[in-house]
Symmetry: C2
Subunit: 318 residues, 2 copies
């Protein structure tokens, strides 16, 4: 028999799932539209049927657990709670519902925590005990590992670094507050910074020819690669705020590395180089030069499924 | 035989030490001037002789460990490193030096971590697994406990919340940077806020009759208790920044409680009430109303010795 874990990534639009072996190899995968199942029981039925089908495809497979990354997920309770981007309202006892269909250990946490677990078990943090993963996409998610353990906190919602205030009185955030880290250091934050710069400085830029609603971090990174002045300045400004938020995180837990993952991180050295420079110049003296800024070690297309599966593999290794 | 632990508090001026039993009772104590021993070997000789004398005073006592709180202490290495307020320069291998004289487990960490351990083992955090202690004195120290374990981080220097930047470009900090949490939310920070307010607003205040070099947080708290307008405003402003820094810490580790200790915390409800109000109004939605703001449960005069001893009692309980 070959032990396999199901990794599940529940997004607002798509749900992807796959079987992952102990080494992190994705053996098979499938997906469906989350939005096709506005009722949670139908969703659970579709997901568990999908996992059973993948498992049945090979007589050698023995399913030993299901790991799930989902928005607004609570690790302690195995729930999804008041997720604004999902159809299921209130508190959804997802882990319990799934266990009634497939009786194996089920773990639920948010996608950034799953990403961090993926880095620890299969990725660039394999030998690390203290690190932080920042997922720089539409928002900014974070997974924090301290002394080899994921930080869930008293509520189960720990690791919301996207909602540190980095600019008091600054940009509006989806959470209803102002100046949150994710309003600046994310793919959408980069777009906002370009718009801000277009209003403030006179430099010519090809980005001025794109409707602001069509601007993306990818287009900005491409323009920056061609030395477009507004794109370059926006990247540097984003790196500065990213560095600022990273330093405020470093004084908390003194990690060995900060690992950057997701849309904005794909800008590569254009983002990493000025971020490292900011840290070198501004980090608190006791932590100076003690923290690596690293790109993720997990392929982006497989990251969510591998990370979710890692939640279970980590438990089994204990 | 009665097992006892020596708790040691090394300060820039005085070193205090005592024997503490499993329940946190300080059985005997003594102290000497740290400044009398500019050579580390002489200091270690004096300290170990002092501990031996206390232990020998009762035939029933069996010394099972020595816990030490000291500035710029590194838990992983058992060292004091480049402490600006101590005479011993460079890296001092304190734990090793003491173990050569008294062969028991020796643990060294900074005083705020010792305070946090004291709260967990003997104080208000006895039943908590996730909390943060802020020591609001000359500076702002912090001890962070996550899932029942002290956070030391990759370097051993974790928990330096006093050096989060809370006001970008703000007040000068002793660390050479600007706008650090401890430049505002500490006893000295409160004094600075009073001076700032005296320059900005026209309100009458008895504090204007005191030379600024003689202002203390105690005098300001006394004036605030008598409704002195500048003192009250300074207290509220300090509570706001304290609340701001606390929220930025909450999104990190989602603690059950923030415990306030030290000079500024002695202002009591004049500080606690506006801090709680700020949190109620400004905390991130997922953490709202999940965090208690509590005064320390350890008597201030015994706190340092009890906290240092708790470092060892905690290890022995494992």
């Amino acid at each position: 028999m070959k032990k396999v874990v199901a990794g599940v990534d529940i997004g607002g639009t798509n749900t992807r799932f796959g079987l992952v072996d102990e080494k992190g190899k994705v053996l098979s995968e499938n997906n469906f539209k989350t939005t096709d199942y506005p009722k949670i029981n139908d969703f659970v039925q579709a997901l568990t049927a999908g996992i059973k089908k993948l498992t049945a495809a090979n007589k050698e497979f023995k399913l030993v657990g299901i790991g799930i990354g989902a928005p607004d997920a609570n690790y302690h309770r195995g729930t999804i709670e008041h997720a604004p981007n999902l159809a299921w309202k209130g508190i959804v006892p997802l882990a319990d519902l799934i266990r009634k269909k497939i009786n194996v250990p089920v773990v639920v946490t948010n996608d950034a925590n799953a990403a961090a677990m993926g880095e620890m078990i299969f990725g660039v943090a394999k030998k690390m005990k203290d690190f932080i993963v920042l997922t720089l996409g539409t928002g900014l998610g974070s997974g924090i590992v301290i002394d080899g353990k994921m930080v869930y906190g008293h509520t189960g919602f720990a690791g919301e670094l996207g909602h540190m205030t980095v600019v008091p009185g600054g940009r509006e955030c989806g959470c209803g507050r102002k100046g949150c880290f994710e309003a600046y250091a994310s793919a959408t934050g980069l777009v906002k910074t370009v718009i801000e710069l277009m209003s403030e400085i006179r430099d010519e830029s090809t980005l001025r020819d794109i409707p602001t609603s069509k601007l993306t971090s990818k287009k900005i990174a491409e323009a920056a690669a061609k030395k477009d002045p507004i794109a370059v300045k926006a990247m540097n400004k984003t790196a500065e705020i990213l560095g600022f938020g990273i330093i405020n995180s470093i004084v908390f837990s003194s990690p060995e590395a900060i690992i950057l993952f997701g849309g904005l991180a794909n800008a590569g050295e254009m983002l990493f180089a000025p971020t490292r420079k900011y840290l070198k110049e501004n980090n608190y003296v006791l932590m100076k030069d003690t923290v690596k800024i690293l790109p993720s070690g997990i392929p982006e297309s497989k990251g969510a499924v591998m990370g979710s599966a890692a939640l279970i593999w980590n438990d089994l290794k204990k």
